[in-house]
Symmetry: C2
Subunit: 160 residues, 2 copies
């Protein structure tokens, strides 16, 4: 009686299904059923439940930003003056190149990830961030390489 569906754990079948969806691209429900050795209806029911619980939000295309010209990724800590979080966030949302923002603990207030086409372009974007009213200080650093690309596979594997 948790009252919170989110709490339900994934069983091994859910985990194996997710792993299959992560690995094999564009795999069909029917094929999943075959691979996992269960009836198609079961997979369909599991998928529906995973969606309903919010475990899976969808299947967005994995777009490689570098392949569309945005070769640079940079991270930045943004310090803002008190009471301006809302407006600042809104302003950041309006900057196309700001691809992610988190409010964090620590000295800085916001942590953002930005994409850019070149160093010059990055400069421009950073300048735009700095220019946002309420932003007091920005310290950024460029990603030179990404030895571990975004992943969550290991977390799933543990559920098997």
């Amino acid at each position: 009686m948790s009252g919170d569906d989110t709490r339900e754990t994934l069983d091994a079948l859910d985990a194996r299904l997710l792993l299959l969806l992560v690995d094999e691209d564009r795999i069909s429900v029917l094929e999943c059923a075959r691979r996992l050795g269960v009836a198609r209806g079961t997979i369909q029911a599991r998928l529906d439940k995973l969606f309903a619980r919010g475990v899976i939000a969808g299947f967005p295309p994995a777009v490689h930003l570098a392949a569309i010209g945005y070769e640079l990724t940079a991270f930045a800590w943004v310090e803002i003056s008190q009471g301006n979080r809302g407006p600042v966030i809104e302003a950041l949302e309006a900057i196309n190149e700001v691809c992610e923002a988190h409010a964090t603990t620590g000295t800085a207030d916001l942590f953002i990830r930005v994409a850019a086409r070149s160093h010059t372009d990055l400069q421009r974007v950073i300048d735009e961030v700095v220019a946002v009213p309420g932003v007091e200080r920005v310290s950024s650093s460029i990603a030179l390489s990404t030895p571990i690309p975004p992943r969550f596979r290991p977390l799933l594997e543990r559920l098997l």
Copy 2:
């Protein structure tokens, strides 16, 4: 004669197709063709090309980590002793909760993102990172909220 297919730009149709794939979940090729007012074969050809160029890497499920128990996200800067980058990366890869790692400019050497089930759990993970041979210093901060979730839609919209 650029010798690098990656350089080819996306035209408006590519961009609209990508936007469609981002927004409408599990949309079929046929439906894309209908929405964009072009023949199915065109969409299929465009999709194939986007894959071939590496623009689209696939359609992985968007898994909501919080829904599978990993409610905490934390970021950390990792300073490592010189000449130990390789081994350190390997060790970090072996830690399931390390969901991303970048080599960056600036004072620290690596920037990582970690997932955890609780504060206690996060402590354990951070300790594991600190314990990696070659790691000299780790400074972490917890994501309290995510006002701008990962996005790249604005970058695509600009191509229209």
